[in-house]
Subunit: 376 residues, 2 copies
């Protein structure tokens, strides 16, 4: 099990600051993890992630890497860290979310899920055990169990059945992990499901606690539900999870939501929003969102955010970024991604400092007050 050290907890909220010790370095929490689906954070080089962002952990995607280039290829080449030249920690999801997004292309059974590759239609099977094996081949520091990720809305009956299967799969995956992969150098997290039903979330969490897992994730959020509901599900789930283990909310959220999740006891988050928005010309700043294609930036010599220390803001104007975006230059995606990811990591640093210095309520108030001023 990876050692998780809690350095400070907020007496007024659920927020905590800590350090997750991995074989590939220490990770200060709360942490936002940039997404590197196909063994690359889109538009960035590993040195950008190290030198510009000082990212301590990134995500890889089991589904994508299993299909291409194949986990056995990556194993032969020394594992995912070596393959992509990333010396720090890697978390891989189980592929469950991606497989369940392939509606029409997949079939669920008690054994696992049969699906067809989005690349060439070939049939494949993921089982709780096989997804652990794939992640062991990748050499992830933190693996995730295979879960069933339900669409929203779902009936209580469907959500209950799905949640029960997720629990059975988690038990199978965890048994496999304990016997094949639990070498003290890595971790495996089960995932709390239960759609938007508090009783199911509670039942799921209680059953997963029996695994005495290295950490726990909250999944099945950001699947179309109102944002308030995602936060509500998080708020009721985190108190059910062990205080001394890291908690990871998967696939959320907008910049202003990060502190809200942390205040509800979340230690780890990931999301494609900062990088995808960057490529689409939406830049997150300390004063709201900048839509860089707008004509108002045509002659604007100011950086995107004058308070930002990223390479992009230190060196380029809004006018230049707008030009690159309109010209379709790849360089735009790189500069925009550098900025947006820096913004996310800076926010996490801010709230971490607030926790360490006992200022969480004040920080939350400042963030919430600012929301009132800025149109979405």
């Amino acid at each position: 099990m990876l050692r998780f050290e809690i350095q400070a907890t907020c007496p007024h909220t659920g927020a905590r600051a800590g350090i997750l010790h991995t074989a590939h370095g220490d990770i200060e929490t709360p942490v936002f993890m940039p997404v590197g689906t196909q063994a690359a954070v889109k538009g960035l080089l590993p040195r950008d992630l190290l030198n510009d962002l000082d990212a301590k952990i990134i995500l890889g995607n089991t589904y994508h890497l299993y299909l291409r280039p194949g986990h056995e290829t990556i194993r032969r080449l020394g594992g995912l860290h070596k393959f992509m030249n990333w010396p720090r920690a890697i978390l891989t999801d189980s592929g469950g979310f991606q497989v369940f997004s392939l509606s029409g292309l997949r079939k669920i059974s008690e054994e696992g899920v049969m699906f067809h590759s989005h690349l060439n239609g070939d049939p494949h099977m993921f089982t709780p055990e096989s997804t652990i094996d794939v992640q062991l081949a990748l050499g992830s520091d933190i693996m995730m169990v295979l879960d069933e990720c339900l669409e929203y809305p779902a009936t209580h009956e469907a959500a209950s059945a799905s949640m029960q299967r997720t629990v059975r799969w988690a038990r199978a995956a965890y048994a496999h992990y304990r016997t094949h992969g639990d070498d003290g150098q890595r971790a495996c997290f089960p995932i709390v499901q239960g759609s938007m039903y508090p009783d199911l979330r509670q039942e799921c969490a209680e059953q997963l606690l029996e695994l005495n897992a290295d950490g726990y994730a909250i999944g099945g959020l950001s699947v179309g539900e109102p944002r308030a509901l995602s936060l509500e599900m998080t708020e009721l789930t985190t108190p059910l999870l062990p205080k001394d283990r890291p908690r990871y909310v998967m696939g959320v959220g907008m910049p202003e939501e990060l502190p809200e999740y942390v205040a509800r006891g979340v230690d780890m988050m990931d999301c494609v929003l900062p990088s995808r928005n960057a490529r689409n010309g939406y830049l997150f700043t300390s004063f709201g969102r900048v839509v860089i294609k707008q004509a108002q930036y045509k002659d604007d010599a100011r950086p995107v955010d004058e308070t930002c220390k990223c390479y992009t803001c230190q060196n380029f104007s809004r006018a230049y970024l707008r030009h690159l975006f309109l010209a379709g230059e790849m360089t735009f995606s790189t500069l925009a991604t550098l900025h947006n990811l820096r913004r996310y990591l800076d926010i996490m640093q801010e709230i971490r400092q607030a926790i360490l210095f006992g200022q969480v309520p004040e920080y939350l108030k400042a963030v919430r007050d600012k929301q009132l001023d800025v149109p979405g």
Copy 2:
């Protein structure tokens, strides 16, 4: 006029090594200039060009920047150097080549060339004087005069008429430059045309010599003629040009051709080949071309070129690059461009060293012998 200092000349060939002193730094010649058409070298950041490639000069494109974002916008923002955050030298072409590529969309008169924007069809006019004004707004260190760039093949009659117009335009552009832009901080190069006719090339060069220009370019090559013919035209033109001025062959060539041009007395070159080939998965190495998508590289843990010192070769395997290419990851383009441009700049460094140490014939022999071993 920019000062051009010749450090060594080869007694056996036309090759020379020198330093071109500009307001934005010294440029060791022979030099290959990376192409940054739209105020960005595709896929790279300025810091990559500085730190990885140590590029001393890059190209910008007058046609593209005139249309978008507009030279007046760039002027208002402090010029092209500041706009794109490039502290070293910039050469801008005149836009002639691009305009003449717009067949059907342009109409030539004695005054200049009327054309329609490829972006939105709007009509525009380039005159010899206006393209100088645009380049003055951009703040280029080296400007090019407007020339007529003929397709290949062309009749002697058409080539002669076109060459004569190019000379008249060069005189008009140069007169405008002398009165409006010749502040000793920048340079302006006329362009020798004449299609593939030695007598026309000679006549053109002789007439342009009367301008006593800062440097001379050889244009109208790489327009579909056999490669041997491009070299032949260069070989007969360079001896006609002043020994003490830099000579620039525009838009050529393949890696193995660079030393051939230098041996014929060329000091400056540019080409989109290294960057465009990079994005298409063709990597230039010391042992020939690597087509990275090939299945033979699937599990290949070796770098693209074991002798190469670039970031890509120092950190990533062929297998990883192949994966990124097949996955369509932007990061591939960045890594491949870093490598191919480094290869071009390394070749130029090699031949420069050969000139300085009096080893040009030996170097040329080694390059030519190697060609025999490697299939194109």
